[in-house]
Symmetry: C2
Subunit: 184 residues, 2 copies
DNA sequence: GTTTGTTTTTGAACCGAGTATGGTTATTGT
DNA sequence: ACAATAACCATACTCGGTTCAAAAACAAAC
């Protein structure tokens, strides 16, 4: 379907008319199921319910620890290369298109708002907004870095291990601040 | 010019043809000077050279302190209401349009990349990317919060004072981590 | 002050994403 | 069998943005 066309020729070089034709549907029908061209490439991406993870955490856990545990588990689960080719193709498509990077960013926007809302129970609105923004930005950066490693020819295992390390680094920075970072 | 039309009728309700007509210029000429419709509403916004501030800081200052000092000064300079009406109109236009919010985000993207590049001199690439992302996200949140306060009818003085407090809060969070935040 | 060369502007055609419309085919319930 | 509803289709439209050749504006040289 659309993903194959994007992978073959790049996001910008494929028109929605072609996609509709290839899918043997009318363009209007296509847009009845997908709200935008970007959503054709991004459906099923970025579905981590940040606010839910925080809201449903056990009472004795900090919200950062809950998120850290979630992404730690996620990184551990990424290592096997089942469906790696599809992931890699999608990563390449996304990284190659500014429009898609921007759209992926937009997906996180809603998550961020919801997370900020939940954090408002514990912190001032401004603090909650700042925390949510920092967390969302960190997660997006983790994803970018992971994709770049994969596209750079690193083996899936190594990229997975690097991701696991980066997750800890990201949450350490969030937890203890940038002053605690060691120079390299 | 364009800003007045946007302020009167909203960003989405004004077409570039109308803008060109109002400016007594051909559409092609308009796009020769502004790369996109969004840039018509955003020109002169987001021009803080984050990377430059960090690169040109005195040798005995941490990069976070340099940024904090810059935004502290900026917040102090915001308090007088010279040109407040224009700022307020622009804030309303931007906050009311998802497309513009997204575009404003995109402007920070380049800043973020440049900042990450500079920080690579002192930190690992991943740490630098994470730091830059957190900082950029925080600054965008500060701007959003400031705009929302202004649009909420807060006086310019009060909004300026709140901004000054928020700047300190944001950099405290960046510096010492989210664990150091007091609940409210 | 006219000729020559260069930069800007223009209009108009064009492209692609997305929407509106009005009509045609299923599906479904009775 | 038959209406009601929903899904789908083809087409034409709007709007942002690009392209390009012609025209206008400008500057310099003689």
């Amino acid at each position: 379907m659309a993903l194959r066309l994007f992978a073959e020729r790049g996001f910008d070089a494929v028109t929605v008319n072609e996609i509709a034709e290839a899918a043997e549907v009318a363009k209007a029908t296509l847009f009845a199921y997908f709200p935008s061209k970007e959503s054709l490439a991004l459906n099923g991406v970025g579905g981590d319910d940040l606010a839910g993870i925080v809201a449903r955490r056990p009472a004795d856990e900090t919200f950062l620890d809950a998120l850290r545990a979630h992404y730690r588990a996620f990184a551990a689960g990424q290592m096997p290369d089942a469906g790696l080719d599809a992931l890699l193709a999608r990563a390449r498509v996304i990284q190659d298109s500014p429009a898609l990077l921007n759209a992926a960013n937009g997906l996180l926007y809603q998550q961020r708002q919801a997370l900020a809302q939940v954090l408002t129970d514990e912190y001032s609105p401004t603090a909650a907004a700042l925390m949510a923004a920092q967390i969302a930005a960190s997660l997006l950066t983790l994803q970018e870095t992971y994709f770049q490693r994969l596209l750079g020819g690193i083996s899936a295992q190594d990229a997975g291990r690097a991701l696991a390390r980066d997750v800890e680094l990201a949450f350490d920075l969030l937890e203890h601040g940038l002053t605690h970072a060691e120079g390299h």
